[in-house]
Subunit: 212 residues, 4 copies
Amino acid sequence: MSEQKYKARNPVQKRGIETKKKIIEAAEALFAEKGYHKTNALEIAARADVATGSFYGYFNNKKEVLVEVIRNFYAHTSEKVLNRYQAQVHGTTADNYREGKKLIHFMIEALYTAHEVNPSLHREFLAMILLDKEIESINREEEQKVISAMTSLLNAYSGLIRVKDVEAAAFLLYRVSEEIIHRIRILGTDFDSRRLITELEDMICRYLLGEG
Amino acid sequence: MSEQKYKARNPVQKRGIETKKKIIEAAEALFAEKGYHKTNALEIAARADVATGSFYGYFNNKKEVLVEVIRNFYAHTSEKVLNRYQAQVHGTTADNYREGKKLIHFMIEALYTAHEVNPSLHREFLAMILLDKEIESINREEEQKVISAMTSLLNAYSGLIRVKDVEAAAFLLYRVSEEIIHRIRILGTDFDSRRLITELEDMICRYLLGEG
Amino acid sequence: MSEQKYKARNPVQKRGIETKKKIIEAAEALFAEKGYHKTNALEIAARADVATGSFYGYFNNKKEVLVEVIRNFYAHTSEKVLNRYQAQVHGTTADNYREGKKLIHFMIEALYTAHEVNPSLHREFLAMILLDKEIESINREEEQKVISAMTSLLNAYSGLIRVKDVEAAAFLLYRVSEEIIHRIRILGTDFDSRRLITELEDMICRYLLGEG
Amino acid sequence: MSEQKYKARNPVQKRGIETKKKIIEAAEALFAEKGYHKTNALEIAARADVATGSFYGYFNNKKEVLVEVIRNFYAHTSEKVLNRYQAQVHGTTADNYREGKKLIHFMIEALYTAHEVNPSLHREFLAMILLDKEIESINREEEQKVISAMTSLLNAYSGLIRVKDVEAAAFLLYRVSEEIIHRIRILGTDFDSRRLITELEDMICRYLLGEG
DNA sequence: GATGAATGAGCATTCATTCAT
DNA sequence: GATGAATGAATGCTCATTCAT
């Protein structure tokens, strides 16, 4: 919006909106198939069945599509996690160890479920987060939202929780869970995913809830 | 063999060995400064103060230098961790909680110290691990070595440890620590590094040693 | 299809068709002037007054232009021979020696006339036929057409002809005539062309028609 | 000799002569395998098991080796033809048709036998004759020698021969035979070689000897 | 003489982006 | 708005040749 340079049009008509969507979808597919760097504008346009010129009618450059694809992606992933977390915050509070374990399981499971998407696309995004400051900052924003929601959740269950620094705990919890989930769902491990998730949950339970 | 295209030589004369080294160093510097993708062979050669042809005399392409730079990097980082871990395995065994905490601190501290290197170079590597299968597999190998050493270490302290699945625990421990350390040293966080490391160690202590 | 690299387009708009033509003409001129191997894509583009990229928009590589140039060339040379031969097949048949001589003269003269083109370009083609399998096979096809037409012609005059193996005779006749014509028109000889053509015709007359 | 630039040494010692020979043989093998243009100096040196620098110790450039390889080649081919022709000139003269046919068969057979060599190497030479003036002129010289010998031969049998212009006839005879033999032995035809050679000999007999 | 490292001009090719229609 | 042709800087890579040891 305000970032928008001067040229790329923002479609208002139905046709334009559809065209833009087609381009984004084509880009998404190609980024997943061959990665961002090996995909070029011509190809995206061809796959979207539009002219090269049209591509630059809607996006000022290749990275702009990536940004849109990523925003799209987050709308389907972290947004869902957020919603589930926020719902839980306003749900009933539990106060025994067993409930705490359920909560932790729920938190991790929500993240795990959110990764039920194109892994090679996600892998590409993870790389782009490391390579591009803008993508990195988009990711930070999204991450921050989830961590905040997690913090709220932990605060809502403060009676159960032994840790003092809830913010840091939420951060730790989020990053650690994401890391292990990425290894399972995106990068792949020799380990059985159950085995890792079991240990992960055990670790977090011990950390958050104590001996039980 | 007989069909040998212009294959990269490996140097036999002193001069050649030095030239190759100069190229690797130049590449390393540029990868750190501008990233792998934005660096090109010409630049590397120029920085190394050799002709383009010399570059291709030692490396068939840009990625081959990257591989060498990464191998170099691991020789200075994970090798050191390995050495420290292996030394510890054969050191005195401890059997009380306090010793356990010390061990965990030592393990994390070793990883943390190993990251006392060029963060932007490391960031670049992390991205390349995601983008390139060959780099990924090099990384897996190195990772495996450290995890194995960690497993040995945990086994050496088995009296102290509550977890059953030591292998998974080592994996978890390694990945989780690396992730947090990367956030601190490579990606940067708003959190104070102390605050995160404290929580990380606490989490791992709880997980490995129990209440104490 | 979906994997489409940057493949050469073939032009749909008028402008594109003209550009392609310009490139082919420039290539032809340069191949004639300096030979195929010493001509490069950049030069062709420059001579055609288009950007390098445009060259690769229409041709995937230098050889593809060569192929087009050669096809063009055949359309102006062997096609004409073909037409003349085919016309003659359906013309009046002769049955005396004198008519036979006229026929042979006609056949050779048609080939000779077809070589009224750029000799250095033709020389280049002759070399490429030897060096490149694809070019060789294009040449074979064209050759086959002419030889077939010659066979028909000989068959139409079968009353005059003493040879039994008409197919082999046509092949021989064609190759032998081409060879001598090439020597005269493309490679050059110390001999006067009349002198050689006279002997050639004499030789073929004796062979095809006998004593007379 | 007098053409020799200033640098390439002319070996006088046994070792040098051997080295030069090794290089020429390596070049010959590679030119046959991959063609002159696709062979490079490094490769030749490697195949000859000498250093790149040594290559340029004996030859000022790539083409010089080609020239030597070609000279070598002619020493094994047209020289032999020459010898056989010259021997025949001084042999018994024949004066009947049957002897004439034998002579023609002999002449063609001598050329045919001379092509019992590496066809792909020969093909490469044929192309280079078209592409390079120097190679062309070497070829012309050799050709001239054979044609002269043929002329002598024809003159020696002048009683049998009906043609007036013996020089042109010898040229024609040589070029025509070479052309057909090349088609058979170097380029390949669908025709059986017997079939073509039979017609070729028939054609030349008619031309040189008449009805018989 | 020999070695192999070094050179750097040269060339093919790609592709983000602009522009004429 | 859409189309696809055109652009040309950028880049990877080759290889004939020279040079230091």
